[in-house]
Symmetry: C2
Subunit: 124 residues, 2 copies
C-alpha cells in the first residue's frame, strides 16, 4: 500500500460518483502532485481486477467511468446530456427471463439503465 494508491482510492471514495480516469488523475494529483497517469491507470486496473471497482460506460463506450460501488448491486440513472450517472438502490428485482427469452444463456446478473435528463441539465 503506497501513498499513490491511497490517493487513487480516495479519489474514488464518493460512493455514488462515477468518475473518468482523467478525473481520478486530477483528484489524485491535487493531493500528490508527482503522481503519474500510468500509476493511476495501473491502480485502477488493479482495483477492477480485485472487484473493488467496476468499469462502466453508459454512452456506448465513448466515455469510461469507474464505479466504486461494485460490491452492492444497483441500477443506474444516466443523464443523456452531461453523461453523469447516479446509483439507484432498487428494491424490486429485475423481472426474470423465461427459458425461451434466455436463448441458452446462463444469466447470473442484471441491471437496469434508466436514461433521462438530470435536474441540473433540465434547468439549464
Amino acid at each position: 500500500m503506497t501513498a499513490q494508491r491511497r490517493a487513487v482510492a480516495e479519489a474514488l471514495s464518493a460512493p455514488d460518483l462515477h468518475v473518468t480516469a482523467e478525473e481520478v488523475f486530477e483528484r489524485a494529483a491535487a493531493v500528490l502532485p508527482e503522481i503519474s497517469r500510468a500509476t493511476v491507470y495501473n491502480t485502477l486496473n488493479d482495483l477492477v481486477a480485485l472487484g473493488e471497482v467496476r468499469l462502466t460506460s453508459f454512452d456506448g463506450g465513448q466515455t469510461r467511468r469507474y464505479d466504486p460501488n461494485a460490491r452492492v448491486p444497483h441500477h443506474h440513472l444516466v443523464c443523456t446530456k452531461c453523461g453523469g450517472a447516479k446509483d439507484v438502490l432498487f428494491g424490486h428485482a429485475v423481472p426474470p427471463l423465461s427459458k425461451k427469452e434466455r436463448q441458452g444463456y446462463e444469466v447470473d446478473a442484471s441491471h437496469i439503465v434508466f436514461e433521462g435528463i438530470c435536474e441540473r441539465c433540465k434547468s439549464a
Copy 2:
C-alpha cells in the same frame, strides 16, 4: 447513396447481431475491397446520428458495438466470456422508479442488461 454506404448497411443487416467497427470494415471490404476504414467510420457515425443504428458497449466501454435494431426498444443478453450480445424482445415493462428513486431526473428510456454465459461459451 453510394456503393460503400450500401456495403456498410449490408454489414449491419443481421438484426440481432452486434458488430464492432472493425467487423463492419471486414464485412464491407469482403464485398468492396477498396473501401477505407475512414468511410466505414464516417458512415457508421452518420447512421448513429440518423438514429438508424445505436452505438452500444456492454463491457464498460472497452469494446464498442453497433446495434442495427435501434428503432425497436429491447433489452440485451450479454456474454461475459466472448462479449457477444443478443436482443431480448421483452414483453414486460421495466418497473418504474418512485419519485424519490428518480432523484430529480426526468426518465425517458430504460433498458436491462442481463449478463451471463452464452451457450457456446458454456460448452467450451
